[in-house]
Symmetry: C3
Subunit: 157 residues, 3 copies
Amino acid sequence: MMARMSIQQRLESLGIELPVLAEPAPSCPTCVITGNLLYVPGSGPLPIEGKLPKGKLGREFTTEQGKLFSRSAGLEVLAVVRRALGSLDRVRRVVKLQGYVNATPEFEEHSLVMIGCSDLMVQVFEANGAHSRSVLGAASLRSNVPVIIDSIFEIAL
Amino acid sequence: MMARMSIQQRLESLGIELPVLAEPAPSCPTCVITGNLLYVPGSGPLPIEGKLPKGKLGREFTTEQGKLFSRSAGLEVLAVVRRALGSLDRVRRVVKLQGYVNATPEFEEHSLVMIGCSDLMVQVFEANGAHSRSVLGAASLRSNVPVIIDSIFEIAL
Amino acid sequence: MMARMSIQQRLESLGIELPVLAEPAPSCPTCVITGNLLYVPGSGPLPIEGKLPKGKLGREFTTEQGKLFSRSAGLEVLAVVRRALGSLDRVRRVVKLQGYVNATPEFEEHSLVMIGCSDLMVQVFEANGAHSRSVLGAASLRSNVPVIIDSIFEIAL
């Protein structure tokens, strides 16, 4: 009988390392658990060589880069969830991803950008990673980050 | 004693025909049921003569057209919900509609656009169709569709 | 033994007066309670001397003004919640604030704008006011209001 892999083991087998999170400021938005739902604050992509990526899809960044940014924001989401729950094994499923893409008025490939984050969730949680999703092009985002992912998870209490 | 009409009968009495949905791609965002809530992926307006409407409110489209598009996106939502639940009679109420209107920076009639979808929900579900709602003007939307409706329903298990 | 202050008493001790709400139009979006969650329709800032503030962050309004507008929208939210529940003492916690900031493509201080509403919730509900949050820059908002707050509360049944 083969034991089921923990999510931490799966992350390792996939070669995925979650970022180390800074201590949250006390006044910062926080994760909220209500019933079986975990609401995660909007998360942006991780810094690259210490610098936050900044710019819009359709101008500074290509769709392919945007896909990497949405995956990167997904890694931040997972690190935040792990800290909130103690372990990612408490995630029963991904309920909802809502993507905000910092985009020009002409940009049309929002769904392709979101695939980066969506694929990450399915890689990590398999069938339980399938989720509801929506995405829109924002006129601007905080600190001019290219993408923000807002998310809801169902958890075991 | 008059039997209560099924939602399917009501749709017919209202002359509303829901669209035939394409088979969803396996990697696509999906409906998610958690507790009594059904999260529906963001839905856009149906194609007109095989072509997806494309453009912005305040430029290519008038508010009156936008209202029809938001109703049309609502029909897509209902078809998706019916497929997910087997029957629309399992809907206990519409909880939330969140509208993204593909709009110019000058556009101000987002609420009027949303009335198309809001009215549809009340027509179909009557008192149970009353919902919470928000709407914003997006800088751009996927494939340049004019409106996307994100939604949550309460369902009977 | 000191009795716990009611939220109404706390509002008074903070010098916060909630606005008198107009009668809602029957066709308007409404508050929805599902399980222990209260979904509140998107709320904008209160009128100033009878006139709704109109304009974009980064153009007509500074970040400091935006912060006041988001606090003002939060007051509207609280008034709507009080009407829906009868008393703010039924609020168990603030679950989620989602901010839409009417902003230029260059604006970057969305988080600072949101602090106005976030701080209000913590002032009023103390530890139960800590919430999950996301914010984006909208290309446009209804009636050109500078900010809209979408929110979810956990309530005692």
